[in-house]
Amino acid sequence: MGAEMPSRRAFLGAFAAGTAGLAIGFRWQEAAGQAAPAPVTPMLRSNPRLDSWVRITPDGRIVVLTGRVELGQGVLTAMRQIAAEELDVAPERIELISGDTAQTANEGVTAGSQSIRFGGEALGVACADARATLLGVAATQWSMERAALGVRDGVIEGLGGRRMTYAEAASHVSLVRPVDTTARRKPPMAATLIGTSMPRTDIPAKVFGRQVFIHDMRPEGLLFGAVARPPGYAAKLVSLDMDWARGLPGVVAVVRDGSFLGVVARREEQANDAARKIVAAARWQDGAALFGGKTAFDHLLTAPAETRTIHTTEAGPAGARSHRAEYRRGFQAHASIGASCALARWDDGRLTVWSHTQGPFPLRGDLARGLRMQPDAIRVIHAQGSGCYGHNGADDVALDAALLARAVPGKPVRVHWTHEEEMVWEPWGSAMVVRLEAGLGADGGLASWAHDVWSFPHSTRPGGSSGCNLRSAWYLENPVPPPRATDGALPNGAAARNAVPIYAVPGQKVTTHFHAEMPVRTSALRTLGGYFNVVAAEMFMDECAALAGQDPVAYRLRHLRDPRLVAVLQRAVALSGWQPRPVTLGRGRAQGTELVGTGVGLSKYKNSDSHVAVVARVAVDVGSGAVRVQRMWAATEAGRAVNPDGIANQIEGGMVQSASWTLMEEGRWDGRRMTSEDYHAYPIIGFGQVPAIESVLIDRPDLPALGVGEGSQGPTGAAIANAILDATGRHVPEVPFTPERVLAALRA
C-alpha cells in the first residue's frame, strides 16, 4: 500500500445526475453590475503560493487543491464549481485534492461557515490568476490582445482558429510563484456555473455503495484497533493481567501506556470484544464526582468564572420599566450516525493518518505534541466520515489509531469508535445559562439591553501552540494535558456568539461568565454559543413585544435598521401567511385538545454572516405537554449563492437538526461520566416528527458569498420557542422543551 489510497476515484465522471429539485429562488431585482474589489482574503495571505491552489501538469491534468474538507456539506462540489468557472474548464475534468498536509494549503479548520466565504474566494482568485497568466502566454505568442482570446474547456482560442491547450501554455511559464492577488474574478453576471445547482459530485458514490468513507478503507494487511476506556473520566488504571489480555481471541497486540489501554486484533469484532473484556477485567481507581453532585446550571452560576463585559454601547434615556428573564440549555451532543474513525500506519518512525478531521494541519500539530515527535514526520490525509456538526471524536480517534498502530509498525490499523464511546467520550456542546434584561420606554420600545451568558468552552479543538487537545494524550504515562481553554473574542465570539443584539437599541451590554474548567469536556457544536444566544434573545424579544402589546413581527421591524434582515423577515413572514397579533401572556390559544401557536426567529449569524428568518407553527398537547412542530417556513440571504440547492440542503438540514435539539436533546450524567450513550438515552428527531419545511433563497449576486452552514439553527430554535409561547402564553425557559417542562409551565 502506498501513501495514496484514493477514495475519490469513483467520484470522477459521476455527473450524470438529473436536475436537483430546489426550492424557489429569486434574484434580487436591483442587482447591480460589478462588485467592488474585495480585500485580499486571509487564506491567500497565509497560503500565497499559486501551486498550492492550482497546478497544470505537463500531460494536461488540471489539479485543484483546497485545504477545506468535505463534511457532507457539499463544499467540494462548490469548490469544483468555483475553480471550473474561473478556469473555464468542464467541472468533471478537474482533479480535486483536499485536506492533505503533504499537498494542500493550510486552511486551518473547515468550520464556522467560512469555507466558501474565505476558502472559495482564495481559490477563485488563484484560478483567475492562473487563467490570466496562461492567456497571457498565448497572447504573446500569437501577438494578439489578451481580450481577443477565449477559453473553451481548457483550450485557449484566438483569432483565425488558433488553439493552445492550458498544458502547452503552462510549459512556457512558471505557475510556481505567489498568487497575484489583484487577479480579477469573472464578474458575477458572466458566471455560468456559479449560481447554478450543480449536482453534488459525491452523492452517486454514496448511493451505489462505493468506497467513500475512512470506514470503507481496506489497505493490504489491515488490522483493527479498539480502546478500553476507563469507567469514568477521572478514573485511573491500577492493574491489568497483560498476558491474559494478549491471549484473547484474535488479539495481536495490547497497548498499555499509563491509563491508556487498547488492543489491536485481526478482526473488528474481536478488537471490540477484547476491549470490552479488558475494561471489565482491569482494576480502576475512581476519581472525584462530576460537578460535585450539583446540577450543571448551579455549577455555571456559582463556581468561579471569568467575568468580562465584552460589548457596550452608549446609553439612551432610561426606560419606564424593565423586563428580565433567564434561559437555560443542557449539554447537547453531535450524535453522528457513524462514530469517529481513523486509519494509521507507521513506517520507519514516520506516521501517516487518514482522518475525517475538520483540520488536517491543526490535527497534525496536536498529534506531534501528543506523540512527542516532529510534525513533519506526520502526514494527515483527509478522507470522509459521517457528518460531524462540529468537534466530535474525529480528532481524538486519530491519536488512538496512532497509539495502537505504533505497536505494529508497517501495518495499517483502523479504529472505529462504538456509538457509546462517541457519546460518552466526544466533546459535548456546552450547557449554558443566559440572562437578559431590557428597559422598555413608555411606548414599549427597547431602551436598553443587557445579555449575560454563563458557559463552558465552545472550542477546545486541536491547533493550539502547546499541550494536546486529543483526549487519549491526557491518560498516557507521560500525559500531555490540554492547554487552558479560552473563549473566542468578538466579533465572532464563542460563548457570546450572536449575543450582540441585531436590533437597534441604546445601552447595550454583553457580559460573559466563562468557565475554562470543564467537568464534562465541551467543544464546538455547530454554531458554538450562537444557537442558544439567538434562542434566548429572540424569546426575550417576544416577551418584550408581549409586554408592549405589539405583534412580534412589527415589534422586530421597528427595531431593525439592517435592510438585509428586514428583507428575510418580511419574506419568511409572507410565505407563512403570518397574521399580525400581539402575544398574550398567560393565555393559550386552544384548538380542541391542543394549543396552537406561531412564532418567528431571526438572526444574522455571527452578526456578519447569513441572514435567516424562520417561522414555525406548533401544536401543544394539553394533556401531555408534547410539542409537535407542524410546519416551518424560512427565508435566507447569504449574498452570492454559489450553489442554491447546496444552500437549501444546509438550511433545511439545519432546521431539522435544530428542531431536534430544541425539542428533545439533553445529555445526562452520573458521578463519573455522561450516561446518554445511545439513541434511547439520547433520542434525536425521527421522520415522524420532522415537519413540512418551505424555504426560499434570496440571491444577491452583487454581494460577496456568506457562510450558510450554521445559519438556520438559531432562528429555528427561536421560532419554535416563540410558537410555544404563542400557543401556551407561558414562559418555558429551558431547552429542550420536553413534554414535562411544557406541562409544568402549563400547570404553573
Binding site: G21, S386, T418, N649, V656
Partner: protein, 154 residues
Amino acid sequence: MLRLSVNGRTTEVEVDPATPLIFVLRNDLELNGPKLGCGRAQCGACTVLVDGRAVRSCQMRAGDAVGHVVTTLEGLGTPERPHPLQAAFIAEQAAQCGYCTNGMIMQAAALLQERPASLDEATVKEVLDHNLCRCGTQPRVVRAVLRAANGRGA
C-alpha cells in the same frame, strides 16, 4: 465455514457463525453499502435485505444468514443500471454526508417491494421512522422515495 449468498453470488467465509453479519459483509466480503452506526438496532444504517425483507445486519448472526438471500446496496443497482431508488436519491440530492443513505434506500427498497401501490408520504415517514439521519435530510429522503414509487426514478 459459512456459505453465504450475497448479491447473487455464493461465497464461503471462514468465520465464527456468531459474528454479526455486518462485519462479515464489510470486512470479509469488502462491501461498503451496509454501514455500522449504533450497533444496537436503533439507527438503521446497517440495513440489508434478507429474502427481500429489511434486516439490521448489526443484529443478525452471520450463521443465521446461511440459506437465505442477502442483498446489499451494491446488489440493488449500478450507475449503469440504477435501482429506481438510487436514481431518485441522486435526482433529489437526498443526502448530505450520506452515512445514513444505505439504510434509507434499503428500508425503502423493502417497502417498495411490499407495498408498491399505496405509497403516500405518511406511510414513507412511518416506515422510515427508525432510520435516523443526523444531517436533517428527511424531507429530501421522503421526496426521493415517493419519486421512485411513482416510477420516475431519474
